[in-house]
Every structure is written in C-alpha cells, then in structure tokens.
Symmetry: C2
Subunit: 102 residues, 2 copies
C-alpha cells in the first residue's frame, strides 16, 4: 500500500451493540468488496470487542463516492444502522503526508 500526499482516507470508528449475529461475515465481505473497487489503495481494520476502527485509502474522492454508491455496500450500511451499530463516526480526509517505519 503506497499512501502519498493527495490520497484520501475514510476513517470509520464504531461501537457495536448487543446483537452481533451476522456482523463478522458482513464486515469481512465489505473488506473484500471494497478491495475490488476502482481507486482502492488499501484498508486496515482492527476490532477489540465492541470497539472498531477501519481506515480505507482511496485515490480520489470520486472513488469514495463510487464505493458509497455500491448497492451491496449501501444495503450493509442500512443493516448496520438498523441492527449492529450502537454508534459510529466517519471522516473523509485528505492525506497531507505519510511515512512509516519497518
């Protein structure tokens, strides 16, 4: 994953509720499906119990809009609000700089 200045990132922080049935399969499917989208650069997702953070990286805002418009993704989001998520926050951000170690 080569993340550079000018890329975009979606930060999705969330807290699950009590009903987790079907959640893990949906989450795994969304990771898989996002990776098939045009302009996808990479994704990292970590969950500890109810708390989760997923960051996905994209070439452009248009790529994010296309992913948001994906029908299967839209259905998963609706089910997430109805059933799985107690709360979530989402930020769309532009990468100013990026570096790493190791």
């Amino acid at each position: 994953m080569d993340i550079e200045q000018g890329c975009y990132v979606v930060i999705f922080t969330n807290q699950l509720g009590a009903d987790r049935e079907g959640y893990d399969a949906m989450a795994a499917r969304m990771i898989e499906l996002s990776a098939e989208q045009e302009g996808f650069l990479g994704v990292k997702s970590v969950r500890d119990g109810l708390e989760g953070i997923t960051v996905s990286y994209w070439e452009s805002e248009a790529a994010i809009a296309n992913w948001k418009a994906n029908a299967e993704h839209a259905a998963a989001r609706e089910k997430g609000r109805e059933r799985w998520y107690m709360e979530y926050q989402l930020q769309v951000c532009k990468v100013e700089r990026s570096y790493g170690f190791g």
Copy 2:
C-alpha cells in the same frame, strides 16, 4: 468530540513485535499526555493483539507539530522504534467532512 471540516487527524497504524514489556503503560501514558496538549480534540485507539490503530484529532497542524516536539512523546517514539514496533505507518490528514450515527 466535535470533529469538523478543517480539523486535522493523525492516523497511526502499527504492528508490535515479540517484546511487549512496558508497552501498555507507555501507550496509556501517551493517550493521557496527548489529551493535555493545546489543540487536542480527541483520540480513539483500538488494539487486537499485535495490530493497533490510533486516530487522534487536532485543531491545527501546529498543534500536531507541538505534540510531536513534546520531549516525553519523542522519547516514547524512539523507544517504540528500538523495542516495541515491528512496523508502523503514520498519516497526517485534513478532515474534509465528518458525520456520525447514534
């Protein structure tokens, strides 16, 4: 935490190595210390075993630079590279839009 367009966020994704002694105490201390800094807006951190993601939100790039220059933080980063982290990536990003549910 009120995150709006124009705020900045630091995304820190990391993988720990085998030596974890002292890591959890350092990580907790850095969360605490970051929250005392000028321009700090909030932080979320999730770890699942070796994989971690921390996102911290800031009023400005200057606030991020000040936090980076904090001596205790700099010492922790150095120890992190020497001892705890197998690898990490860091992005400084500007928030374009933010919304939530719940």
